[in-house]
């Protein structure tokens, strides 16, 4: 009885749930990532890192949970901070820029499938906010909007240093967008689709008689490296952080304070999660676990292990989350390992190394595919 009564509303419930998870992953991960960035860098540099913000309700005992409450304290500080606005700024664009910076970062996660299709009461729930046929194109279209946020921020804040940072940012982001797009073309040729969930399904196939999963990382290793480098450059993080260059110019958001600065800051961390999600989907098999079929594990040497469908789906969602968190960790790791490129080096790496390499990747893939 109840099942039939709910049935007409199920698609909407599914959509809302997808939205909640799809927005929840980047938003909920971004906060702890700011903590992870500080704490992880401390561990790399043999320090202790932030560990003092106590749990406010229980005063008698000093509960700090490894400093995990620091992001909360940071947010409270940013929100309650005075928002100073320079007299000379272009008010409209100045207020608009942080929104434009956050928007593309959040919206690109819509095409990332974070789990397999689940069938509940005879209806299919696709764990993906938007199943767009041209999903990859949507990704590039939206991520290229991010350059507006940075450029407008630098332009509108009437500050030469901000302008300088914005110029650097726009040049860098536009340069690396070319490479970013070209590095995926090989992958598109291999899987013959532009739809992210089809990518993940395609990566469920196996090579060499079922022994090796046909993941993007194994089919297109060069594509993965170039994509990873280009997306870090897009996100303006070390070693491509000369846009901010804390020690010499302070970047396009010098004039921002309070939560408006916080939004630029948040956008960077959301983008880390989004990059991780996209790389997972395209190159690391998305929610696929090697040898885990719809009915359970089936190993190429003949062994098999049956599992209920809901358990398989849960495992696959967990696998996606694990891969995303791992890639976030890896991006932080990269940031605290590498020194910053000089501006001419950024351009040289982008145009004279990565672009030819990505073209080469396309050609080699095409030749292999033809044969």
């Amino acid at each position: 009885m109840e099942a039939t009564a709910i049935a007409p509303f199920l698609p909407y419930i599914f959509d809302l749930l997808s939205l909640a998870i799809g927005l929840g992953i980047p938003l909920l991960l971004a906060g702890p990532l700011t903590w992870a960035e500080r704490r992880q860098s401390a561990m790399i540099q043999d320090r202790v890192g932030p560990n003092r913000a106590p749990f406010p309700l229980i005063r008698s005992r000093n509960i700090t949970v490894f400093g995990l409450l620091h992001p909360l304290a940071d947010v409270i500080k940013l929100i309650t901070k005075e928002d100073t606005i320079n007299r000379e700024v272009d008010r409209f664009l100045y207020n608009l820029a942080p929104l434009i910076a956050v928007f593309p970062a959040l919206v690109t996660f819509a095409i990332v499938p974070f789990g397999p299709d689940v069938t509940i009461l005879g209806q299919t729930w696709s764990l993906q906010i938007a199943r767009v046929d041209a999903g990859i194109l949507f990704l590039f279209a939206m991520s290229s909007l991010a350059v507006f946020g940075t450029t407008l921020a630098g332009y509108a804040s009437a500050n030469k240093f901000a302008m300088l940072g914005a110029l650097r940012a726009s040049a860098q982001m536009i340069s690396y967008e070319v490479t970013l797009g070209l590095s995926v073309i090989g992958l598109i040729m291999v899987f013959g689709t532009l739809e992210p969930n089809a990518f993940v399904l395609g990566q469920g196939a196996y090579l060499f008689g079922g022994w090796i999963p046909k993941w993007g990382i194994l089919v297109q290793p060069l594509g993965l490296i170039i994509f990873m480098i280009a997306s870090i450059a897009e996100n303006k993080r070390t070693p491509f952080d000369l846009v901010e260059g804390e020690s010499e110019i302070i970047g396009y958001f010098v004039e921002y304070s309070g939560m408006k600065f916080g939004m630029f800051f948040m956008a960077e961390y959301i983008e880390i999660v989004v990059i991780s999600g996209v790389v997972t989907t395209l190159f690391l098999g998305g929610w696929q676990i090697p040898f885990l079929m719809d009915g359970g594990f089936v190993f190429p040497w003949g062994a098999s292990f049956e599992m209920a469908e809901w358990l398989v789906s849960l495992l696959r969602f967990g696998a996606f989350l694990f891969k995303v968190v791992f890639l976030c960790w890896f991006q932080l790791m990269l940031r605290w390992t590498l020194p910053r490129f000089r501006y001419d080096q950024v351009m040289k790496v982008g145009w004279r190394m990565l672009l030819p390499l990505s073209l080469l990747n396309v050609i080699v893939t095409a030749v292999v595919m033809l044969y």
Binding site: Q40, M43, I44, D46, M333, L334, T337, L338
Partner: protein
């Protein structure tokens, strides 16, 4: 490794060499070097996350380190068995103090083995220069600096004045560790009860823990 070519300086007649190392393909490909760097950082990361191997930070208020044995910390007055201070108000420490931070008012007692006792014994910890001369000077081993703690921070000058009762209440390092007050402890060679030096040992002035000062 690299070649150096001489460059003529336009301003002075100096020839200097510019080192322009000729990086090979391996170095210029960045990736192997990045992998090596990642190896180092990941090693440090996991070693520190699991066992805090390389971290040398002293987390002071949470996990304070034990100070060395000879650390001169906060003063304390050593009590007798009856809980009163060993001090006999001889003014030796007050005289020795270069910072003039000790203030004693002596009084007489009927106890013939003690004769005098301090009515007031104040140390201004804000003026104290932590030289330890008071400990050297004391003939009764009545004042020590073996507490192993700092003088505590205060919010007014008045709070910096530590009276007889305060100074008696501070435990020694060993007492703090064992959790009980020890009124019978005394260095070898002191007479029972009074805490005075047994003159038979002829060891005059230097008492307490930090010997060696002024022994010549």
């Amino acid at each position: 490794m690299g070649h150096a070519k001489p460059v003529e300086s336009p301003t002075a007649n100096i020839t200097y060499r510019v080192l322009n190392p000729d990086y090979g393909v391996f170095e210029r490909a960045f990736l192997p070097a990045i992998a090596a760097g990642l190896g180092t950082t990941i090693r440090h990361f996991f070693a520190n996350v699991t066992t805090r191997k390389y971290i040398r930070t002293i987390e002071y208020p949470d996990n304070p380190v034990e100070y060395p044995q000879r650390f001169r910390g906060m003063h304390r007055l050593v009590p007798r068995e009856d809980g009163k201070p060993r001090c006999v108000a001889c003014f030796m420490c007050q005289t020795a103090c270069p910072a003039r931070c000790i203030h004693i008012v002596g009084g007489e007692t009927a106890d013939q083995s003690i004769e005098k006792f301090p009515i007031v014994f104040e140390i201004d910890e804000l003026r104290c220069v932590v030289c330890g001369l008071c400990v050297e000077a004391c003939p009764c081993d009545a004042i020590r600096m073996d507490t192993g703690i700092h003088p505590v921070p205060v919010t007014s000058r008045q709070e910096g004045l530590f009276g007889k009762r305060d100074l008696l209440g501070i435990p020694s390092r060993e007492e703090r560790k064992s959790g009980r007050r020890d009124t019978t402890s005394r260095p070898p060679g002191t007479a029972a009860g009074t805490g005075r030096k047994d003159r038979a040992h002829g060891d005059g002035g230097a008492g307490g823990s930090a010997g060696g000062f002024g022994e010549h």
